[in-house]
Symmetry: C3
Subunit: 352 residues, 3 copies
Amino acid sequence: MQTWTLDNIARLVGGTVRGDGQYVVDGLATLKSATSTDISFLANALYRAALSTTHAGAVLIRPEDAEDYQGIAVLVANPYAAYAQLTHHFDRTPKPNAGRHPQAVVSNLAIVDATASIGACAVIEDNAVIGAGTIIEAGAFIGARVLIGKHCRIRANAVIHHDCIVGDRVTIHSGAIIGDDGFGFVPHHGRWHKIAQIGCVVLHNDVDIGCNTTIDRGALDDTIIYEGVVIDNQVHIAHNVIVGAHTAIAGCCGIAGSTKLGAHCMLAGGVGLAGHLEICDKVQITGMTMITKSITKSGSYSSGTAFDTTENWRKTAVRLKKLDDMAKRLRELEKLVQQLPLATPNESEYDG
Amino acid sequence: MQTWTLDNIARLVGGTVRGDGQYVVDGLATLKSATSTDISFLANALYRAALSTTHAGAVLIRPEDAEDYQGIAVLVANPYAAYAQLTHHFDRTPKPNAGRHPQAVVSNLAIVDATASIGACAVIEDNAVIGAGTIIEAGAFIGARVLIGKHCRIRANAVIHHDCIVGDRVTIHSGAIIGDDGFGFVPHHGRWHKIAQIGCVVLHNDVDIGCNTTIDRGALDDTIIYEGVVIDNQVHIAHNVIVGAHTAIAGCCGIAGSTKLGAHCMLAGGVGLAGHLEICDKVQITGMTMITKSITKSGSYSSGTAFDTTENWRKTAVRLKKLDDMAKRLRELEKLVQQLPLATPNESEYDG
Amino acid sequence: MQTWTLDNIARLVGGTVRGDGQYVVDGLATLKSATSTDISFLANALYRAALSTTHAGAVLIRPEDAEDYQGIAVLVANPYAAYAQLTHHFDRTPKPNAGRHPQAVVSNLAIVDATASIGACAVIEDNAVIGAGTIIEAGAFIGARVLIGKHCRIRANAVIHHDCIVGDRVTIHSGAIIGDDGFGFVPHHGRWHKIAQIGCVVLHNDVDIGCNTTIDRGALDDTIIYEGVVIDNQVHIAHNVIVGAHTAIAGCCGIAGSTKLGAHCMLAGGVGLAGHLEICDKVQITGMTMITKSITKSGSYSSGTAFDTTENWRKTAVRLKKLDDMAKRLRELEKLVQQLPLATPNESEYDG
């Protein structure tokens, strides 16, 4: 187990120690869970109450928040960024040595950098290229002619099919499938005839693809995920989708074929995008929303329905089916009331 | 093929045979599909009509339901429980022998109980511990320092990443990914910077995790699934979620980060829970509902929208966007009508 | 890289060349992306404008659309079908040789046709049968007694559990899990007791199953996918579901247990079907719709909610919870207005 003095931590995050800089910690934890050998952090005023009860050995904290706190503090302007930075030093994710596991299966025609690491039962097909420092974990499959850049991590049992291109510092989490066929069939006499999918998938630098997410290869052109995009688990990205740089997509979203999503967008969980749309940059979409038309103006969009008790919701659901009828009846009533000889002007006219 | 006398079946399920106790069956089937060598069951009055046409050799049945039935019966108080019990005796899921397949890849530093079974191309990393009677099927990946208890079954191509903890009698179905990274990034100058996920996943005893379900490791604290929880396929459970004991989660649900779901809850398919919520015990959530606020009272909750013909639904959808306007117009009309000199009192006042 | 003369392409698709039939192409591309060594196609009038700017060496085109086009044309009645046909000739998906990779793990009790191909780290269990020309890619798992027909392709890291039956020309894409257990538990004293799932999965001829899709084995009877069904990625099909021939199911759909879906149906993305329903033939269901009742009439059905700006949608959402109240108030108002001595007849009566 690695240990750190608070002086060393302060140096790392650009802070200053208030108290014993030689105090030693070996873990990073929440205020609630921390013990005396952990360092914790206060980033959100909502958790300030936890300061008085925490058992943390030290706390990363803004100077202005530290007055109430009696323990050892590492004063820092942005405790959340400092915490994020420190996580990498307390991370226990195995860092395998360079080289090939004896039970890795690497084609003689593949070109694997000497500093790359290939795990047990990983399979690397003909003419694939694996860059420096890249880790291919156990059971992963790298298809023919796939190009993978430097310092990537392809996690256990992930799959990248033939001819796909992966930039540098890309992470593909376990069970993700990159570059299998898009869902392309042409109907003929009541049967579906497959259209071979001859495009590929291009993942630019610094992309992060979640577990069991699927990104299909393009029908003709490629499916493209631009730089810095982060995608959570269980997301479905269909053929020829384009995702703009630095967009974030939360779990369980689905994006249908040929839709072009802009840069710096944020999709919450369970969002669905229909095919052949264009969504401009800086669009936020809230949870479980269905997008059926292109969006040309940045901003936030929604259609997820808020819950109610099932008893109340059933009443709403019954009425919802009659909404068109209700709207017509309302209109009739308005006309009728307007015709009444004694009707006064509609007050809403005064509202502006 | 194994065969059973009805006497033996009756003994097993605590019932009594009405008819030939030496009659032999070799299968368990529905009333509709059963042949003369099968035993079937009547658990639900809805299927009573099938009794008169079934070809089953015998039927598990309540004494009070057996009067109409002429065939051999195994009388039992709870035929459904008896059926459930019998399924395990007719189950043909392979039961591999203890020991390691020659093509299993097991670290010399792993501790594998002599009664455990490790399949071909399964990979077990350093310092993992595999308990007695546990089966690791082909292609599964068990990361470094993972602890797995007794009599678990980790099915083909499932993944458990480093440092996760799995109790006894846990089943993890194929393609499920336990303990890959949570979706944690901090934005900085328009880019996403990864926060290393240094918690793990803890699965308590008797948990059952469906195919291709993903359960992410915690950011700092652990993601915890308590005893007896059953989770169906394609479910996404984000970092630091806590699921209370004996809760059931149907397919395609998604639970966002840090949400705490109570014990004995039931989520139907396609439900989405936003992050940082607390859902109390004994909450039922119906299909495709979106939960965006904490729930403090047990009961049933919904927001899934009932379907209609597309033609009708389109009319509803158009009106839905104008619902706020409709509500305002209704309010105006009410005011206007109240002002009419000849208006009679609103009848609803009499409704109580 | 393979090259084609336009004469050869015309012969293949049943068209005629207008221009130089000896012109050579080596790729197939969209009008927008094509270069002078590609052939492209015009199938949809929407893309006609691209004809004037394309750099394609030749274009598959209807005679009546070719008048405006100056380049070399392959005249054909149905350019889209011609394109679909050609894709298979430009497809670079590896076609592995017959035989077993040295690191494949094949039971001595399995029966593998000599023309089948078994990839590295694929695992084939006892008594499985693999038909002629079938390709089992790397890392795939084929359980005991599974029967797989001819010319199937089971892609990298897909799983088929014991006793399942797969017809001819079936493709199962990467990460798909066929025949793991259905989600069957019986509650008893607050705990869930597993019901062993003793049915299997039957995939008829020409079925195509997408990446990370899961199809559970039946509880007693089988889960059945009939001929020609195509299923996209991340779909969840529960135990004992039956899907009728030539039905297409888009990504992220979920079908709960024992539901019977008809033939020639089309489900758009994210659709959910409750359990124990019967959906007749030729039903279309639009995106993110929830189906909770059986459907007996072919046609199109919907409940997916169109999006709005979050600001507007919030107003709608608030009103939606009060919809039952609004409906009651509208009814009251109608009664009240009808009682007014001077009220004129409701105009809607004249509407018929």
